[in-house]
């Protein structure tokens, strides 16, 4: 009886933890299989423990090249989308102007559109313009679909900002530029950082839109896609595991920094 009561009381916790397990199971598999020594070309069955892939992560032809292309695109897409998106977010929150509704829907629509539709339509544009598919078309597409997410993230932060802080700065004889750099930007920074992080993750991981507009350029997700047909090298799991660890460390570091700042303020 006691067990039944305990079970009933903690039903939500048990269900939640099961879901968390479902969410993390593939990551566990990816990590475990990065230590595998597969017999054939595919790394789907456990054979034997080995550190080979970890010793030689770039041992597969073209994989690290595709990784570097993906990183470059993600960095530039993040910079582009963050700058453009932050400007839009400030305009939307801080100013009343005509066409606000239209601008809001134009921001919302890319997020409410299946990726395959955007991917296909961009391809028809590039084909019609006779553009050479490759690095630049991928970058253009990535900035386009990351933009909306950055706007949403920055908007949420700027909206919760107290405009009186900026008035106070101006009362203390700060010029517009000084006010922006020393007051507005630091307060908006967490929102901008969140938007940038989101843009980076979205761009780095995008497959569908890239697949349509990449031409013969191979990004890392496209390399993984191809390997699902040709044979998956163990090194892919090494990269996957490393990305997971780096992401966790990154988020942890961010939290430690913001905790420390909050303590300083208190």
């Amino acid at each position: 009886m006691a067990f039944v009561r305990w079970f009933k009381r903690n039903l939500v916790v048990i269900g939640g933890l099961l879901t968390l397990g479902y969410l993390l199971l593939p990551n566990v598999i990816v990590t475990v299989f990065s230590f595998n020594k597969p017999k054939g070309r595919f790394n789907y069955e456990w054979q034997q423990f080995s550190l080979d892939a970890w010793r030689d992560p770039c041992g597969v032809a073209d994989m690290c090249g595709s990784l570097s292309i993906s990183l470059q695109i993600a960095v530039w897409a993040t910079i582009g989308a963050t700058i453009l998106g932050t400007m839009i977010a400030f305009a939307l929150v801080r100013y009343r102007f005509r066409a606000r509704g239209a601008v809001n829907s134009l921001i919302f629509l890319p997020m409410a559109m299946p990726e395959v539709v955007m991917a296909a339509s961009l391809l028809t544009l590039f084909l019609n313009l006779g553009a050479q598919l490759g690095f630049w078309t991928i970058l253009i597409a990535h900035i386009m679909f990351c933009l909306s997410f950055v706007v949403t993230a920055v908007k949420a932060r700027v909206m919760s900002m107290d405009p009186r802080l900026e008035q106070a700065a101006q009362d203390l004889y700060a010029g517009p530029v000084q006010t922006f750099l020393r007051v507005t930007l630091p307060i908006a920074a967490p929102g901008i950082a969140a938007g940038a992080l989101l843009a980076f993750a979205l761009s780095f991981d995008d497959f569908i839109i890239t697949n349509f507009n990449a031409g013969s350029t191979v990004t890392f997700p496209m390399f993984v896609w191809g390997s699902a047909q040709r044979g998956t090298p163990v090194q892919i799991n090494v990269i996957g595991t490393t990305m997971f660890i780096v992401a966790v460390l990154f988020v942890l570091a961010g939290m430690v920094i913001s905790n420390r700042r909050n303590k300083q303020k208190a």
Partner: protein
């Protein structure tokens, strides 16, 4: 993500200054580059796609606009099973995401205590491991004769799913169940995060009040918690259903030719067969179907201020 509502205009406004002509143009200068980008690389492509869908011709001779609306009809009559499958699979995945995601979002919002941030990180971190790698991992998990399939067999779950037509024989891979499982997995975080955001805003004292009024836990959930989390439910289901209905990765990696979704058809038509008009028509129908469904859904759920 779509749940951001407009700024309350009641916030203290800056002092009124005499209007300056230069200042009035500032918002437009701020908007110009980004909006131009979206107009050229998001809106204009839609126009090109619309025009492509009413063209006829071939890759060798070139395509011409002939207002050939027959393409739409042909596309629909040839590929309605794939359309139907997309809606069914995405719908099933959305419901599963809601059922699986709600307890976890609830756990993070109310029961995790000091573990809250750790659990949140564990929900977000998989985002950073390429989703293709993680989807491929499901091939290992659901492998024929593997422990998962074995357990489902022993528990006679497969008998039930076989009877429902979700699986066939002793395997899960290459069946609709595998595709729905992959879709659910892939879009689960998109359900959990909006749910968590709206649950977190609920005042815990409301639960106490419900308890004081002799509501049983389930009644509290049904009458207080769930209605207050509706904005999260709506934006979560949208963020899950829309991308899932256009996805072709899960159907390709975990499914078979019998589980092809409309995304697979669009991809094949565009990139392999190079029949651009049919592909454009298909993706236009998908877009229109989704816009209509989403509008109806938002109307119905009475949260129009969401968008």
């Amino acid at each position: 993500m779509a749940s951001v509502t407009e700024a309350p205009l009641l916030a203290p406004q800056p002092d009124k200054k005499p209007p300056r002509k230069r200042g009035r143009l500032v918002p437009y200068w701020l908007l110009l580059p980004g909006i131009l980008w979206l107009l050229i690389f998001f809106a204009l492509p839609m126009v090109y796609q619309a025009s492509t869908s009413v063209q006829t011709g071939s890759l060798e001779e070139g395509f011409k606009v002939t207002w050939h609306f027959q393409t739409y009809w042909n596309a629909l009559s040839d590929y309605w099973p794939q359309f139907l499958r997309s809606v069914l699979y995405a719908g099933a995945a959305t419901i599963l995401c809601l059922v699986l995601g709600y307890p976890l979002a609830y756990l993070i919002a109310f029961r995790a205590g000091r573990w809250r941030n750790v659990v949140l990180i564990l929900v977000i971190a998989p985002f950073f491991t390429s989703f293709l790698i993680r989807t491929l991992a499901w091939k290992t998990i659901l492998a024929d004769g593997g422990p998962v399939v074995g357990a489902l067999n022993t528990l006679h779950v497969l008998d039930v799913t076989n009877w429902l037509g979700f699986t066939s024989g002793d395997r899960v891979l290459a069946t609709p169940l595998a595709v729905v499982c992959g879709l659910t997995y892939n879009f689960l975080p998109f359900m959990i995060l909006p749910l968590y955001t709206s649950l977190e805003r609920i005042d815990g004292r409301l639960h106490e009040a419900a308890g004081d009024l002799y509501a049983k836990p389930f009644t509290t959930f049904r009458k207080v918690t769930f209605p207050l989390s509706m904005p999260g439910v709506v934006s979560g289901t949208l963020l899950t259903f829309i991308p899932a209905s256009g996805d072709y990765v899960n159907a390709d990696l975990l499914g078979s030719t019998d589980t092809r979704m409309v995304g697979n058809v669009i991809q094949t038509q565009f990139l392999r067969i190079l029949d651009y008009p049919t592909a454009a028509a298909l993706s236009f129908i998908l877009m229109a179907a989704i816009l209509i469904m989403v509008t109806l859904y938002i109307r119905k759920s009475g949260t129009e201020d969401l968008v």
